[in-house]
């Protein structure tokens, strides 16, 4: 079975752990529990007819005390940048972390998850300019809610498909070179 390492990155309290919990264990807790260091979970799925095991690295959120340790991205096949749609600064953090991650990982697939979409009607504060900056950089943006589960499965599935497509493109271009 193919195994892929993916990382979840983003500012603190945007819901990275909650997204993993929702996806892996189908549960959600309202209370915020901070992540220290790294937590790794596994999930098996089928994408494009292929069985895949995702090794999901949930990295501690970034704030003044915790910066992204890029060495955690070693061997990563793709990553998810998570932002909180009710906290505009978290999208700026996401954009900056993406730039930092990109320098380390190169061109691997990534998805931007704008989480807490269940609060879209009341507290949504996503600015079009911020989304445009990410889209211009080739981001697929998916609105997610770890609370309701909306978009969560889709986000992991999409990233996995993108990773498989990326592998296949790279394999064929390697073959062509030979």
């Amino acid at each position: 079975m193919v195994q892929k390492k993916i990382c979840l990155l983003g500012a603190f309290a945007v819901g990275k752990t909650s997204l993993v919990m929702r996806y892996v264990n189908s549960i959600f807790g309202e209370k915020y529990h901070t992540t220290v260091g790294v937590k790794i979970d596994k999930k098996q799925l089928v994408a494009d007819g292929e069985e895949i095991t995702l090794m999901i690295w949930d990295l501690a959120g970034q704030d003044d005390l915790t910066r992204l340790r890029t060495s955690y991205l070693r061997g990563v096949s793709g990553y998810v940048i998570v932002a909180d749609g009710t906290r505009p600064f978290s999208l700026n953090t996401a954009i900056n972390m993406h730039k930092e991650a990109r320098e380390y990982t190169g061109d691997v697939p990534f998805i931007v998850a704008i989480n807490k979409a269940d609060l879209r009607e009341e507290q949504w504060q996503v600015e079009e300019e911020q989304l445009k900056a990410l889209e211009d950089d080739g981001a697929t943006i998916i609105l997610t809610s770890a609370k309701t589960g909306d978009g969560v499965e889709e986000m992991f599935q999409k990233l996995t498909q993108n990773m498989l497509a990326f592998d296949s493109e790279n394999t064929s271009s390697d073959t062509e070179r030979k």
Binding site: Y32, H33, G37, S71, R74
Partner: protein, 347 residues
């Protein structure tokens, strides 16, 4: 390693491996019980343990550790904490350290236990505090926005009272503010000052409220004496809007006082010239003239934009600040959009 030291390390939940030449790992001390959960058996001292594959996190760190051992740096290299789960679901916070000791490359694994959970509590407190602060800031922003909307409403009501006397329309008032905002934005004014000029610029003629009807509403040309009386509206307006510590009203006051000043010093009431005239007033002067030219008034028909710009072009350097006029021209598309959005009601 001595038996005592081995036991001490075991009791401290620490495992020490010697990284051998062939990149395998030999256990150097009696391991704490948690290692068995991951290895599947109770490893013994000097046993070569297949560390790779046991902890996904460690597989990643070992690549870094190899680089560290090759470089022979003396300071230990720490992995940072990670959380692993035993097959029974028990959470174990671990940290790996690569180091050199006695010319041997060593790998230390430690169950951080209490130390990790203390760090969690410390960071949780810090982040809960940061979230509270963020939420308060959001609330303040939202309240400030509400206050700003109310300020704008009050200003519009005041202006409509003044407008009743000289028949200025609500659309004209709104347009002047929006044009001025476009220029302030183009000049990179900060957000608060830009929002201020949007509300302040329309108040430039508020002093007309203090001009007698016989002068203000006189249909024909004003006599010299009447014109002198009319000129007082600048100082009256400035006086009405002064005397507070509200930045918006201070801006409105300086605009009211100086919107008839001219770049070459021939304006009134003070005869200021060039950059002695506040920038807010220099902006308002340009947009007010533009709006007056391209709209119909009781005493004149509307000019085409082309004609208006021709007339205004002749006023540059005399009446208008040349640099600001250029900014106005650079942003004409936006200005035109505003003009077309806020149209005069058909009479």
């Amino acid at each position: 390693m001595s038996a005592i030291l081995s036991k001490v390390l075991q009791s401290m939940n620490i495992v020490v491996f010697h990284r051998l030449e062939d990149k395998t790992f030999q256990l150097l001390n009696s391991p704490p019980p948690w290692l068995e959960h991951f290895c599947g058996h109770q490893a013994s001292v000097n046993e070569v343990v297949p560390v790779e594959g046991i902890f996904p996190f460690l597989d990643c760190f070992l690549e870094e550790a190899e680089e560290f051992w090759e470089s022979k740096v003396s300071t230990p290299h720490r992995s940072g904490p990670w959380v692993d789960f035993t097959p029974h679901g028990e959470e174990i916070p671990l940290e790996a350290i690569a180091l050199w000791e006695d010319d041997k490359p060593l790998l230390v694994l430690q169950d951080l236990g209490e130390e990790y959970y203390n760090e969690v509590v410390r960071l949780q407190g810090f982040r809960d505090g940061a979230l509270n602060k963020e939420s308060l800031e959001k609330e303040i922003l939202s309240q400030t926005k509400q206050i700003r909307i109310r300020e704008e409403e009050i200003a519009m009501k005041l202006l409509s009272a003044a407008g009743h006397r000289d028949h200025e329309t609500a659309e004209h008032v709104r347009r002047i503010g929006l044009y001025a905002e476009v220029i302030a934005e183009a000049l990179n004014w900060d957000k608060a000052a830009t929002a201020d000029i949007r509300i302040a610029a329309p108040m430039h003629d508020i002093g007309k409220i203090g001009i007698p009807d016989r002068v203000l509403l006189k249909p024909g040309k004003l006599t010299e004496e009447e014109f002198e009386e009319m000129k007082e509206h600048a100082a009256i307006g400035a006086d009405m809007l002064s005397g507070t510590n509200i930045p918006l009203l201070n801006t409105a006051s300086e605009i009211a006082m100086c919107h008839h000043e001219k770049w070459d010093g021939t304006g009134y009431p003070k005869g200021l010239s060039g950059k002695e005239i506040p920038e807010s007033a220099r902006i308002t002067t340009i947009v007010d003239v533009y709006d007056a030219l391209v709209h119909r008034r009781v005493y004149k028909e509307a000019s085409s934009e082309e004609t208006a710009l021709k007339i205004m072009g002749q006023m540059v350097g005399k009446h208008f600040d040349p640099e600001l006029y250029q900014v106005f021209l650079d942003n004409l598309d936006q200005i035109r959009n505003i003009k077309e959005t806020y149209v005069e009601p058909s009479s």
